[in-house]
């Protein structure tokens, strides 16, 4: 029970991070981006490439920061991967979403995002192959926190949880305390009115994609660190991440963070009641339950 709860929180941290980026993009650009999870894949693979490059250049960077399996090279690669993923998100918007936004409706955007997701997934599969990749082949053994009740935790997962909390705090401060944050929120509230007030809309959209992409990259790398990388990891993660964003309420960063935890914990605890094999149904049951009680999600606001 305690173990399931801890597992749920630790697995949920990655979902939270992915959901925060998604909820921001969904709120500010007003469309459900099913290609968001592919940004996680882009980030994770970009980090893999640069991690290998740095280790090749300087072997000392490849040393593990005990007790984590995280290496110095991966930390540096992470920064570059965030930039690359942000840039990819901007490029995808420039070449696909912007054109669709100008000509088509909200539904066209959703379909376009499905198309983008398929293309990204298959391109990554073509380049890297369909097999599983790992940042570090060594297995990170879990640490026994308590014997009775049995509680095992992997150091990597604690790191991921802590990093997620820090990122959420920083994001909150930026959005609530800086002029830039006000501008972003204004665009989310009402794009036309924000433009009238002198906020450069195009630049704000670019910024949203950069932030969303950067967060997605972090989530992808953390997932790769605690699990593994594969070209279809985006496909595997897209539903739990959407569930987290919807449960939290579209646009709410804290909602997304909490939503991720809820989905993680519920999937983990579900095995205590449901037979194994049914756990993928849990995110959907949570969406249903939350939307029945609070149609805008836990923290969502009614939007005109």
């Amino acid at each position: 029970m305690i173990q399931s709860l801890a597992d749920g929180i630790l697995v949920g941290a990655v979902l939270s991070l992915g959901a925060i980026g998604l909820t921001m993009v969904m709120h500010m650009l007003r469309f459900a981006n099913f290609a968001h999870a592919e940004l996680l894949t882009i980030g994770a693979y970009a980090a893999l490439v640069f991690d290998r490059v740095f280790q090749g250049v300087n072997a000392t960077l490849g040393a593990k920061l005990a007790p984590l399996t995280l290496t110095g090279s991966l930390v540096v690669a992470m920064a570059i991967a965030m930039a690359i993923t942000g840039a990819s998100a901007v490029l995808i918007d420039r070449f696909v979403f912007r054109r669709v936004r100008e000509k088509g409706g909200e539904l066209s955007m959703v379909f376009a995002s499905f198309g983008v997701a398929l293309i990204v997934r298959n391109v990554i599969g073509l380049i890297f192959g369909l097999h599983t990749e790992l940042y570090s082949k060594g297995i990170a053994f879990a640490v026994v926190v308590s014997r009775d009740p049995l509680l095992l935790i992997k150091p990597d997962q604690v790191f991921v949880l802590a990093a997620t909390l820090v990122i959420m705090l920083v994001l909150h401060l930026v959005l609530s305390r800086t002029t830039l944050g006000y501008a972003l929120r204004a665009v989310a509230e009402n794009p036309s009115l924000a433009q009238v007030n002198g906020i450069p809309l195009k630049r704000m959209i670019v910024l949203i994609w950069v932030i969303g992409g950067g967060l997605a990259a972090t989530a992808g790398i953390f997932y790769g660190l605690t699990n593994h990388l594969s070209p279809v990891m985006g496909r595997d993660l897209v539903l739990p991440i959407f569930a987290a964003a919807i449960v939290g309420g579209i646009g709410s960063i804290y909602g997304a963070a909490l939503g991720g935890m809820i989905v993680g914990i519920a999937s983990s605890l579900a095995l205590l009641i449901l037979p194994s094999g049914y756990s993928p149904s849990v995110p959907f049951l949570i969406i249903l339950a939350v939307l029945l009680v609070r149609p805008n999600g836990l923290f969502g606001e009614v939007r005109a």
């Binding site: 297995i139 053994f141 997932y223 990891m233 094999g277």
Partner: protein
């Protein structure tokens, strides 16, 4: 007249265009042609050689005069491993081409609907090279196959039995089972659990893993809860890698028993050979008999490569036995009559015949004289049980730094005795 001819030409063109060219016998020109059907996944890379092997058998049989004085024409259709496509193809073969015998398919998921909705209602004998699900056995036990179903591929029962045998020989007292949540995984997982319990080994958990789950942590934790001495893995490499890494990192035992699906380089590399020292796998095998070696030699001569793909020896035997049974049943025999003759050509007390053109010619003579034959094929002396199932020898294997190595070979008799003791 012109009209008739043009229809005829169009028909010929259609046949040529679809690639349904009869495999012509060269030695003797036959006055008549008998069609048999095959539904195989020829659009899949490993499916093509299975079909080529079947064609090879037909060529050999035609070279010694065909079946009951008629040239055999193998009408081959693709199923794309899709049940809907497979059923359509089988329907066309049975209704339009009026074949009395259908070879196929590979995937149990395709063979099953063909059997229940095409061949059994159409009274056509179906012989599969490669389907392993025990669902066919159950269907046959319920009498719903009308004795028309045969397969030359051992059921999952063999591998599950050998898995349990390994657990017993290693002296494990408790085992957890992780299985893939599909037909194959559920099938093999259930049988292994039953076998282990029969052997007095405690099954601490049976946990299903779905495809494409972002994390298997919760499932693995559930399997770990019973603190088993060993774990049985009926998984494919993708989820197998993720689950086993999670398993090991949470302190799970390195005593692993694996199904043949994990015989994979990706799995070995990504889990790490240092953790796989106590991991042993199971697989079915071709017997170590002269007739199996003769098949390999013939195959290499014909195709210029080793028969390494899945189901090749099985496809060879399926086709040859079907043709022998047709020969025994005589000209214009229908499906049920042919199916009834299968026992006559795989009779353990019959005269042994080899699995080639000469063997077929010899069998023809013996059958004409009222005798029975024992077909010694690419997968050994094929013997079907009452449900149309065959058994097979097994191997136990383990990982090495370079790949895998065979640890023990378990002969057919030993496998059969063990499977029987599990019932």
């Amino acid at each position: 007249m012109t009209m008739k001819r043009s229809v005829h030409t169009a028909g010929l063109g259609l046949v040529l265009g679809l690639g349904l060219v009869p495999v012509a016998g060269e030695a003797m020109a036959q006055s008549c042609t008998q069609k048999i059907g095959a539904v195989l996944p020829i659009s899949v890379d490993w499916g093509r050689p299975i079909a080529e092997t079947a064609k090879f058998v037909v060529e050999q049989v035609n070279s010694v005069g065909g079946v009951a004085g008629c040239n055999i024409e193998l009408v081959l259709r693709d199923d794309q491993t899709d049940p809907k496509v497979g059923v359509d193809a089988a329907k066309a073969l049975v209704d339009i081409d009026q074949v009395p015998v259908l070879l196929g398919s590979v995937s149990s998921g395709v063979s099953m609907p063909i059997l229940t909705s095409v061949t059994v209602p159409g009274k056509v004998m179906q012989m599969s090279c490669c389907s392993s699900s025990t669902a066919f056995t159950k269907l046959a036990e319920q009498g719903k196959t009308d004795g028309l179903w045969f397969r030359t591929f051992a059921t999952s029962r063999v591998q599950a039995a050998v898995g349990a045998m390994v657990a017993r020989d290693k002296g494990y007292k408790s085992v957890a089972i992780l299985y893939k949540n599909d037909d194959w995984g559920q099938d093999i997982g259930k049988i292994v659990a039953a076998n282990l319990e029969k052997l007095g080994i405690k099954v601490t958990a049976q946990v299903a893993l779905n495809d494409a789950q972002p994390s298997y942590r919760a499932e693995v934790a559930e399997a770990l809860a019973g603190q088993p001495e060993a774990v049985y893995l009926a998984l494919y490499p993708t989820e197998g890698t993720a689950a086993v890494r999670e398993w090991l990192s949470l302190g799970g035992t390195q005593n692993m028993i694996m199904a043949n699906s994990l015989k994979s380089d990706d799995f070995r590399k990504n889990v790490g050979i240092e953790y796989l020292g106590n991991a042993v796998g199971t697989d079915t095998s071709s017997p170590r008999t002269p007739s199996a070696e003769a098949f390999v030699k013939r195959y290499v001569e014909k195709f210029g490569g080793q028969p390494n793909g899945p189901g090749l020896a099985n496809s060879y035997d399926a086709t040859m036995i079907a043709l022998l049974a047709m020969q025994a049943a005589g000209k214009d025999a229908k499906g049920p009559q042919i199916a009834a003759m299968v026992a006559k050509v795989t009779d353990p007390k019959g005269t042994p015949v080899t699995a080639d053109a000469a063997g077929f010619a010899e069998a023809t003579k013996i059958l004409a004289g009222g005798g029975t034959v024992l077909y010694q094929g690419a997968t050994g002396n094929v013997k079907f049980d009452a449900n149309g199932d065959v058994s097979a020898p097994a191997v136990v294997w383990s990982f090495t730094n370079e790949g895998t190595k065979e640890d023990t070979y378990i002969p057919l008799e030993e496998v059969d005795a063990f499977v029987a003791s599990m019932k």
